[in-house]
Every structure is written in structure tokens, then in C-alpha cells.
């Protein structure tokens, strides 16, 4: 970024507010801005703002009974899906899955597949009761939800009588 300086005689007729030093700063800022924009787009493509390779994450308990696949990066008002796999022992009653209430307070649950037979809301958790035949060993539970607040989102998901899995998400505005 160079500027050939002009002699005062050369531009004597022209009343102009040229400031080459400031002009060079402005060009530097422009070039720096292009680099920042390029990096921003690259980060977006890689999934730093959700929906890409770097965003995919998995969390499971030590025994491997509950596994959650989730997006590490999400955006306000943009739906994301929690994919849950439960390896539960056979039981005649409903299979109860607990989701922490603090997580639920900052998201809006749009849809759960398969649909729970029962839902119970308590002070700390929301309990979803699934038909054990539907949420079987090989079956997956999909929770489609939309974050409604930005910031760090901490969730906990687990079985009523067993382990819980913690997961963290960053929600962009």
C-alpha cells in the first residue's frame, strides 16, 4: 500500500484535503478487515457457529448406558437436535429420562421422537416417560429444541435410576 507523494507545486491549484498518512491507515484497516472476514467465513464453514464438523460432539456416561450427540455451538432461535441413545435394562414400566430444568428454561422443546407417554415437570428436572419397546436398546430418542437465550447452556440428561450425562453448548445471539 504505497502512495506516491505529490509536490506542493504540483497540486497548488487544487484545494484538496489529502491525508496520505490517514489514507494508508484506512487501507491497512480495509485489508485487515478482509482477512478477518475470511477467517470468520472459514470458522463458519468449519462449524464454529454451529452446523459443522467442529460443532458435533458426543457425551456419554462411564458405563455407556446413556449417550448424547449434540451441537456444541448453537444460535438463538435456530433449532438443534439432541440425539439420545439409552441402553436400559428391560423393564415392564415406562423408561424415564430426566432432563435438567435449568436447560429446559433456556430452550424451547419443539418435538420429541418417539413421543413420550408421560411428561412430569418437577422443581429441578423434567421427566419424560417412554414406552420401553419404542426406546429400546437400539432405538434413539430425538429431542428437537430451539435455544431462546444466548450464552453458555449446561444440560444434564439421564435415566431415573442411573447415570446422567452432562453436556455444554455455547449459544450465539
Amino acid at each position: 500500500m504505497h502512495c506516491e507523494p505529490l509536490g506542493q507545486d504540483e497540486i497548488a491549484d487544487l484545494e484538496i484535503d489529502e491525508d496520505l498518512k490517514a489514507q494508508r491507515w484506512i487501507w491497512c484497516f480495509e485489508r485487515l478487515g478482509w482477512s478477518v472476514l475470511g477467517l470468520f467465513l472459514l470458522a463458519g464453514l468449519l462449524g464454529v457457529f454451529g452446523g459443522g464438523r467442529l460443532s458435533e460432539a458426543e457425551s456419554r456416561d462411564e458405563a455407556g448406558r446413556v449417550t448424547v450427540w449434540f451441537e456444541q455451538f448453537a444460535r438463538v432461535d435456530t433449532p438443534v437436535t439432541l440425539k439420545v441413545r439409552v441402553m436400559a435394562v428391560q423393564q415392564p414400566d415406562l423408561l424415564w429420562l430426566h432432563l435438567s430444568k435449568s436447560y429446559f428454561d433456556r430452550t424451547r422443546i419443539d418435538r420429541i421422537m418417539p413421543e413420550p407417554e408421560r411428561t412430569v415437570v418437577t422443581q429441578d428436572v423434567i421427566r419424560f416417560g417412554f414406552d420401553p419397546n419404542q426406546a429400546s436398546e437400539q432405538g434413539l430418542i430425538l429431542i428437537s429444541l430451539t435455544p431462546i437465550q444466548f450464552g453458555q447452556l449446561r444440560g444434564s440428561l439421564g435415566l431415573a435410576d442411573g447415570p446422567a450425562v452432562e453436556f455444554h453448548q455455547i449459544v450465539y445471539p
Binding site: 500500500m1 504505497h2 502512495c3 506516491e4 505529490l6 504540483e10 497540486i11 491549484d13 487544487l14 484538496i16 484535503d17 489529502e18 491525508d19 490517514a22 489514507q23 491507515w25 484506512i26 487501507w27 484497516f29 480495509e30 478487515g33 478482509w34 472476514l37 432461535d77 445471539p173
Partner: protein, 149 residues
């Protein structure tokens, strides 16, 4: 509350983004540039209003934008340095028929742009007929020809 913050953030972000894109981008707007502007405005509108389509929200957003614009105008008048940073500076790109190549390259202006402006505004045919060509703050090119005897 959120609408005001969203509108203010978008105003500042757009100000910086358009500054980064350089003044040449919008001054010589082509049909595609207009289409691009429409797309940008659509994306911006959704980020500012979200899913709140109420009249109150629209009034809040519009009031924020207008007030910020008035404030910016006031600050630009008050602080010369800020004015230079936001609106840029005029730059001589041709002096006495001599193209100033380094300046032109840095400002992303080529000889064809200058000759086009010379033909369109002054009816000039050659670079040697130009005394000064100035890339203005608005992004347009002003042509000052040599005085004819």
C-alpha cells in the same frame, strides 16, 4: 430492550462492514450490487426483528437506527479524525496527465475507470487531457481537465 440492542449492534456492524468493503463497492453500483443490497437488507431485517413482527418492535428498531444516525452525524462533525475514518478521504489518482499507479492499485481503481469518468463527465478522449482525477469520498471519480487556451 432486545430490539434496541439488536438494532444498535447491526448498525455498528454494518458501518464497519461497509467501511471494510471499500468505497469503490457502492459508488459504481451495478444491477448485481442492487440485488446484493436487497439480500443484505433482508438478512439484516430478520436479525433485528427476529420473530417479533409487532408495530411496537418496528417503531423501536426504526427509532434506534435514526437516533444512531443522528448521533453519528453529530460525532462526524465534531471529530475530524472519525469523519476521515468513516467517510474516507479524497485521493488524487491522476496528476497532470500522469496516472499515479501505486495509489490507483491501493484504491482498486484502474485506468479504464478514470477514462470512463473522463468520457462521461467531461467528454475527454485521453489521459493526457486530464489535469487531475480525484477519487472522492463517495467513491466517484472527479475529472478536472487542463484549461483550454
Amino acid at each position: 430492550m432486545e430490539s434496541v440492542l439488536h438494532a444498535a449492534t447491526m448498525y455498528i456492524v454494518l458501518l464497519v462492514l461497509f467501511r471494510i468493503s471499500g468505497r469503490r463497492t457502492l459508488a459504481e453500483a451495478s444491477t448485481f450490487d442492487f440485488v446484493l443490497l436487497l439480500i443484505i437488507s433482508e438478512a439484516t431485517q430478520q436479525a433485528m426483528t427476529g420473530s417479533d413482527y409487532s408495530m411496537t418492535n418496528a417503531l423501536l428498531v426504526i427509532s434506534t437506527l435514526i437516533l444512531l444516525d443522528v448521533l453519528l452525524t453529530f460525532l462526524l462533525k465534531r471529530f475530524r479524525g472519525l469523519d476521515k475514518a468513516v467517510n474516507g478521504l479524497p485521493l488524487i489518482v491522476v496528476s497532470h496527465g500522469r496516472p499515479l499507479r501505486e495509489r490507483m492499485a491501493s484504491a482498486r481503481v484502474d485506468e479504464d475507470d478514470i477514462l470512463e469518468a473522463a468520457r462521461r463527465t467531461r467528454g475527454l478522449e485521453r489521459l493526457e487531457q486530464i489535469k487531475f482525477a480525484v477519487l472522492e469520498r463517495s467513491g466517484g471519480i472527479s475529472i478536472i481537465p487542463f484549461e483550454r487556451p
